[in-house]
Symmetry: C3
Subunit: 221 residues, 3 copies
């Protein structure tokens, strides 16, 4: 079953549409990092590193935890995507506000795909289902946390955004399709991705937030 999944998983990523989504998603993540770096007056190199951390940081943590070589060390396309993103911001910087919705869509589709990639990679290594959901969430959301640490801000996803929760919902859909209904990897990925995209779009449109944890007014824990 896992062998079959593996083959399907490989087949899944061969179609050109998926490769394009991965690269556009990588660029959307990188651009979000580069723009935040620019608001902090980083130089070009600093902005590139923040962009790369945003784009490949989540997958790197996932790969280190799974005990495999970080995916971007053996394929230069990811660094190239990040360099293109830097040039894009340098050249089209003043138009990025008008491109905001476009990049938001790319970012959301990228999130959905990164989540699926993380889930599949973890399942192929015989980890439990809940580990796969966790690693999908790490793949999608941890890059943004590293980005915010590098620019010395409290991580955004801990305070404002429905981002990781969309990944977790997408992960639950994936493993349910996979385990309960025995669906093909393509369909698992499709339903999972739709879940992530729909939840994130609705969350932004209707300003969904998780409840803030009330402090006990005692800061010396």
């Amino acid at each position: 079953m896992l062998d079959l999944l593996q083959q399907l998983g490989l087949a899944l990523r061969i179609p050109a549409s998926f490769v394009i989504i991965e690269f556009v998603g990588t660029m959307a993540f990188a651009i979000s990092g580069i723009r935040l770096a620019s608001s902090k007056r980083f130089d070009w190199f600093g902005a590139l590193i923040v962009g790369m951390s945003t784009a490949v940081g989540g997958g790197t943590i996932r790969d280190l935890m799974l005990g495999v070589t970080p995916f971007w060390l053996t394929n230069s396309i990811y660094i190239i995507c990040c360099v293109i993103s830097l040039l894009w911001v340098v050249i089209f910087g003043k138009y990025l506000i008008s491109q905001k919705n476009t990049w938001f869509i790319f970012d959301t589709i990228g999130l959905a795909l990164f989540n699926v990639i993380g889930i599949e990679k973890t399942l192929q290594m015989d980890f439990p289902l809940w580990t796969a959901i966790t690693m999908g969430c790490v793949t999608g959301a941890a890059g943004g946390v590293i980005r915010d640490i590098l620019i010395n801000e409290v991580p955004l996803i801990f305070r404002k955004e429905i981002y990781a929760m969309a990944c977790i919902a997408g992960g639950v859909v994936y493993v349910t399709c996979f385990k309960a209904f025995g669906m093909s990897a393509e369909l698992n990925a499709l339903f999972s991705s739709i879940t992530v995209v729909v939840i994130r779009l609705l969350a932004v449109k209707y300003q969904w937030h998780l409840p803030v944890l009330k402090g006990d007014e005692d800061k010396e824990a």
Copy 2:
């Protein structure tokens, strides 16, 4: 000798009392993270991640350095402990101040146990004794550093607390018992844990601090 240690080490963790200490210690660590996150107005998810980082972050760094799969990826009990901790803070938040001493004791006992677990795991992999002491300290103290980075504060243990030093003292006791006196793993663990607990309790009671390093009034290093 190491084989024997390994068997004793495994036996050591079977007794129910040790399992209970590990889970209560995990919860104490998680609650310290969740409370600090709540003082920063994090949402529930953010607080859970900060709690998890505090509880399993040190062991994760240890396992990545030792080249093994992070311990919490194959046993869901650790995430469950963290979720219970979150619910505990949500439900009993206003009583946490009155529970302060209780959780401080659990936190200290947890620290002692995590230190021993880190030392034993490292020794079982044939690393030098000083590496084991270092990894015990990492297991106990690094989670708090990750917590403080995530809430964007200067790590507490670098400025105020005798925390890591208690681990190091406990580690020295462990390897001395192990190497010089050839004592059993249970006794090593017991004496090491007592050392950690006593030093931490005394440090808090008598406000022991390490000396602050005097700056050279030249901040451009």
Copy 3:
């Protein structure tokens, strides 16, 4: 060829001069971290950890990514260098300003050597040339980023210093000598190191900076 490189690489590090450079470089890195920690009123332990993170942090990230045990876990000399650095700052703290140029030179030579070590270690594991350049840069520059995260500042190298770029230039020189001219590992290392040192010295003397990335005046990326 790689076998030959490996043998040469091993030979390269045997000469006493190289060992001395590595330890002096480690101390220069550690001292830069310890001084910054002291300006933040860290205690001795905190300062030691920041110093160690600066000195061995880059190589640790490199080793984790390459899938090998962090180099300092099996050889206690690196921790000893960091402890000596701490004592040096404690004892000679008030003279450090007058030693500034000396430690700047040691820091720069250390950077060049760490870069070469990172490149060679990566090439020996059959990674692509660009990965080796990247890992050289990580070895030299990532420790400073961890240092700045621990003291809760925006990483210096993202805003002000020509530091990583010197590593990248040195890396390009290394792989060019290695691949295009088929030179010996000693010569590769020599030319690469000279490149790093010269670029860094010129950058500081003539205050070279990378251009700052202009923000789009929209901070909600």
